[in-house]
Symmetry: C2
């Protein structure tokens, strides 16, 4: 079948790919690293400090074999590299890693949000979104946006067997978004759903403010499911 004819539901086999998580010591990074290691992937948690990264990796459980490394080494070692760093410093970190990230699929899950006494709100980003900023500073990488609305509480809760939500996967490179859809679908309960081009990433990132509002009102760990797909 040609590229045009293949089913939008088809997923490539990515079980052999390794995954690095930049900002891997934060809740989101540890949570994604944990679940992807549970799914059988070779996972490296990256951090500014290799020691702190190794401590976070050890905390996930020695049986998973997750390793810690500084961000540059993590960037170099992963077949797929997830960016889960704080928004503050996002551009500088990625720009500094352009060389090791060249040619790789870089999955940005950063949500540029501010907080004030009325709660969370979306920040304006010069490039349009965190994902587009990543694309701007990583011209030789294949940038995909995904994993924005995934509760780290659920990811890190050993009592949660199935993370019951869908991940919107955005990007302009069909093979790259298919790979990241497959990556999301490796986590039990989760599906990766194509969610549009990278120029439509801002609202997906910003929607995290709404998800937080839902969580506060309903005392929940909300996620999204896409119906009819």
């Amino acid at each position: 079948m040609s590229e045009q004819q293949k089913s939008p539901y088809d997923l490539p086999d990515i079980s052999g790919l390794s995954v690095s998580v930049l900002g891997g010591t934060g809740d989101q990074g540890r949570g994604l690293g944990l679940r992807l290691a549970m799914a059988g992937h070779d996972v490296v948690l990256g951090s500014r400090s290799a020691e702190r990264a190794q401590a976070a990796a050890d905390e996930l459980g020695a049986h998973l074999g997750v390793r810690g490394a500084d961000n540059a080494r993590a960037a170099r070692e992963g077949d797929i590299v997830i960016v889960a760093v704080p928004w503050d410093g996002h551009r500088e970190l990625l720009a500094s890693l352009a060389e090791p990230l060249a040619g790789k699929i870089v999955v940005d899950c950063v949500n540029p949000l501010g907080f004030d006494k009325r709660g969370p709100y979306a920040l304006q980003v010069e490039e349009g979104s965190a994902a587009q900023q990543a694309e701007a500073v990583l011209p030789d990488s294949r940038v995909v946006a995904a994993f924005h609305h995934v509760s780290s509480v659920l990811l890190l809760d050993p009592a949660v067997d199935e993370v019951e939500l869908d991940v919107l996967v955005l990007g302009d490179d069909r093979d790259a978004t298919d790979t990241v859809r497959a990556l999301a679908s490796r986590i039990s309960g989760m599906r990766g759903i194509y969610g549009g081009r990278l120029r439509n990433a801002h609202q997906v990132e910003a929607l995290t403010a709404n998800v937080i509002a839902v969580n506060r009102r309903y005392k929940a760990h909300a996620g999204l499911r896409v119906t009819d797909v």
Copy 2:
């Protein structure tokens, strides 16, 4: 119980409230009018032309008792007024109806989108969002944002008994958002979920571009469900 203590799941009884739909001859307006009439509400479809509005109302089926009127009369007659007009002309229409809409709950479901050869994208709105623009030109109304991601195809399909999706309801007035949550929940299969303050409406409106991308890729009529609530 005090306002603070009531459950976020409680819904007021709004079965006696009438609903008008501005822009009621469009697919979204007719679809919402149809489903709310099926739920037992007295519904008026508004349009620039009272004749076209009446024709659209008649088309929904005489047994439902939906009436057509010009937008000004529709604005006057509804207890709740849904705004389902095209983005182009949104501000002018609402500004012209500030007097009849004063004191009412106004439910904005307008999505400011552009389209080019790469598909849909979110338009920038000076006030932040269509809903905030409505709030700006309707200072005496209670503006709520809702019904952004509801497929008119599903609403208008007589074979669809249950419209299986959640409606994010945004606003700064707790009673008004509770009323609109109840309104969404009157449609079989649908739930109204509080989704944050009006300042976080832009991304919910803009996310319609992503829903359209999902629909195109998967040949679906996608909606969203909020998990864990």
